[in-house]
Amino acid sequence: MLSNLLIPAVLFFALGFLAKLIKSDLRFPSDLAKALSIYLLVAIGLHGGYELGKADLLTALNSVMWALLLGFGMPLIGYAILVFSKKVDAMNAAAIAAHYGSVSAGTFLTAVAYLDSLQIEYDSYPVIMLAVMESPAIVVGLLLAAWSRRRLAQQQGEPVADTENGDDSDRGKLTHILRDAFTNGSVVLLLGSMVIGAVAAPQSMAKIKPFIEDIFMGVLCLFLLEMGMEAARRIGDFRRVGAVLVVFGVAMPVLGGLIGVFIGHLMLGFEVGGTVLVAVLAASASYIAVPPAMRLAVPEANPSLYLTLSLGVTFPFNVVFGIPLYHMMATAVTSA
């Protein structure tokens, strides 16, 4: 546990968190966090693509299949738990569940930093899973929301179709949203960088090594500093979210981590490092790609609920406690 906390990236996350708690005037320029996340996605994409260019195609395809299953399956599990808890309505349940099926690149990269610090080797396949898992959960979340909206309208005896605005009909909206989910900036950037990393000549890749490797952890520190401040900013919303949902924000990643460990080792045959990364993918909740999609397409859901859960509860939990926990689980399963 202590070794995880003493990684610079995690310490910077704690610094950002503390800065906000003590009401420091520390503040990033408004677009810096977005610029840093673009860099991180390009760097991890290029690096992963380069490694995947040398990897086994069958395992890569198998990883993609399991990533899709996780991306489609985790939101359904989350939705069922949330609806069963009766603490939120169906629309909020759909929006929150979508966050838990998608992934947090920040958590994934922190796990990479964790494995690096312990000198544990990891497979490159989870990088492609990271790219694949960004979108399916958005689609599932939107379908769950559309289904819930329809049921709600039927219960209230309201007309189901929403045709007040030409192409804004349900079908037009769904097509538009599906296109948005798969052309999402993070997905395009990550997949595009992976393709470039895979096809680029090795000697030309060597020239950009300082860009994608040498400065990577430093940039991650800056990014996590900002994310620490963003996470702490959500603390005030805990009361609005309620204890049951905060428990969900901790229990859901642990459940995801367990499923991820099972898939990573037993289904994909990864060793400890790769298994930890798959567990982190299944355990993490998106706070960059999914919230805008939900805000746009599920306006009935309350953004402070899903943002507080994904950014204020699950992200700090995963960074501080989750990653070492998934490491312990992966070690237990791989050595069994």
Binding site: S30, A33, K34, N165, R233, P292, L296, P303
Partner: protein, 111 residues
């Protein structure tokens, strides 16, 4: 003297309506489409931060960024635009819509 100057200006100024919408950045494209479909000749968007019923909008994450959307239209086109904005609001989106009287130098730019 000021009155004389104002009177002089009034001859070249033409009344229009300025519709200002403060909302989430994610609705930007939808607003652009709505006003263009209803005959707006152009629009202006500023990034903004602030706080309201949706909580603080820090501008750090895409979902936490607000915009101020300005469109100047003749009175004849205003109702259709307000209908479109109301339709967006009815879906549950949070928008602040302000309408003000403005005077412009070249009215043909807004027709």
């Amino acid at each position: 003297m000021n009155e004389g100057l104002l009177e002089g200006d009034m001859h070249r100024l033409h009344p229009e309506k300025l519709i200002t919408v403060i909302t989430s950045d994610v609705l930007g494209d939808r607003l652009v489409k709505a006003v263009k479909q209803r005959g707006a000749s152009g629009y202006t968007i500023f990034r903004a931060q602030g706080a309201g019923s949706s909580g603080e909008q820090s501008g750090m994450l895409d979902v936490d960024t607000n915009i101020v959307f300005h469109v100047v239209v003749p009175l004849t086109k205003m109702s259709a635009m307000l209908d479109a904005l109301e339709a967006i609001g009815r879906k549950g989106h949070h928008l602040k819509v302000l309408v003000s009287d403005v005077n412009v130098l070249w009215p043909e730019k807004f027709e």
